[in-house]
């Protein structure tokens, strides 16, 4: 893991997550289990590589969510998130 990989945000992780979760994941609010900061997934800092996705808190840098996509399987590690919050609203073009 190099600093170079810490360049994107949760928006870039959404394709993988949306393949399995039929919600708009970029607007999902994640509460950091370490510091309590709350942010939409789209804002979290993405550390990604071929091995998977690590989303880190924008405030304290702790891991909030880990995800690995292998073929038809998604494994989520949510231990860094104290709470996931969803709000209703338009997300698709209709």
């Amino acid at each position: 893991m190099t600093e170079d990989l810490a360049r994107l945000d949760g928006n870039a992780a959404a394709g993988t997550l949306c393949r399995f979760l039929a919600i708009d994941v970029t607007s999902m609010m994640i509460t950091c289990a370490a510091c309590g900061a709350e942010a939409p997934l789209g804002r979290l800092h993405l550390y990604g590589g071929r091995m998977g996705i690590i989303l880190r808190c924008v405030a304290c840098g702790e891991v909030n969510l880990g995800a690995v996509e292998v073929g038809e399987t998604l494994r989520l590690d949510p231990r860094g998130a104290a709470c996931l919050t969803f709000r209703a609203g338009p997300a698709t073009f209709r």
Binding site: T16, C18, D24, R87, A88, T92, F93
Partner: protein, 250 residues
């Protein structure tokens, strides 16, 4: 709960190419199964080599919100970027690629919104913001809008002519360019990196309660967002999307 479509890969056929600047190309794709998108959303593009090697990157949609079966991606060729180099230099009309989308509900603009719209772009970060401006024009939006757009040189400005036309429509859009690596003689715009003073001059005041979208390289986005907050803008009113050359190497 916000329900979105479950995303599957679909075939997209290259239909049209338009060179925007030396390193930036817009590609129109025909996507028969496209269900429409919002302004600001993106797609993942996947390329598969003959030996099965796959590479995948995210690109913003440039075309306006709607459900047309032809979508546009504007792609900057990244040095040594395997996907962007292929798309901008080797892909030809009629070739198929795979994509999935539209993706994202966070970095999207609601075309019903009447709040002032403040768009701040660094380089090819202008692409999703252009989708918002094209959508605004298409629906006849009259709420005030501003684009503050930072480019390296005048030759690097993407969509230059179309932006001038949009700003000349008299529908409340103003356009502020800034150049960071030298300006031509007679240049009317700004000529430095976006800083706090520039934002104080050109951005809507926080009291006007604008919706703010910032897109560009990570450092650009972080700097601009921090300065906006120091000018009194609410963090929740600032939506950000980062990209980077390193994203292409991911």
């Amino acid at each position: 709960m916000i329900f979105a479509e479950r995303l599957d890969w679909q075939v997209a056929t290259a239909a049209k190419f338009c060179r925007e600047t030396q390193g930036v190309v817009t590609i129109a794709f025909e996507v028969p199964e496209w269900h429409g998108h919002l302004a600001g959303q993106h797609v993942d593009v996947r390329l598969t080599a003959e030996n099965g090697y796959q590479a995948q990157r995210s690109y913003s949609l440039a075309s306006p919100a709607g459900n047309a079966a032809e979508i546009e991606l504007t792609i900057e060729r990244i040095k040594e970027g395997e996907v962007s180099s292929f798309l901008t230099e080797e892909l030809a009309i009629g070739d198929d690629i795979e994509l999935r989308g539209p993706i994202g509900g966070y970095f999207t603009w609601d075309r019903q919104s009447s709040s002032p719209l403040m768009l701040i772009a660094g380089g090819s970060g202008v692409v999703p913001l252009m989708s918002m401006l094209r959508t605004r024009y298409k629906v006849g939006g009259k709420a005030p809008a501003r684009l503050l757009y930072s480019s390296r040189t005048a030759e690097d400005i993407i969509y230059a002519a179309e932006l001038d036309r949009l700003a000349a429509n008299g529908d409340g859009l103003s356009l502020i360019h800034t150049l960071t690596r030298g300006a031509p003689s007679g240049w009317q715009g700004e000529r430095r990196r976006v800083d706090k003073q520039m934002l104080a001059t050109h951005a809507f005041q926080s009291s006007e309660q604008p919706q703010v979208f910032v897109c560009g390289p990570t450092l650009f986005v972080e700097t601009v967002a921090d300065q906006l907050i120091s000018l009194g803008h609410a963090e929740s009113a600032i939506k950000t999307e980062r990209f980077g050359p390193t994203g292409d190497k991911r």
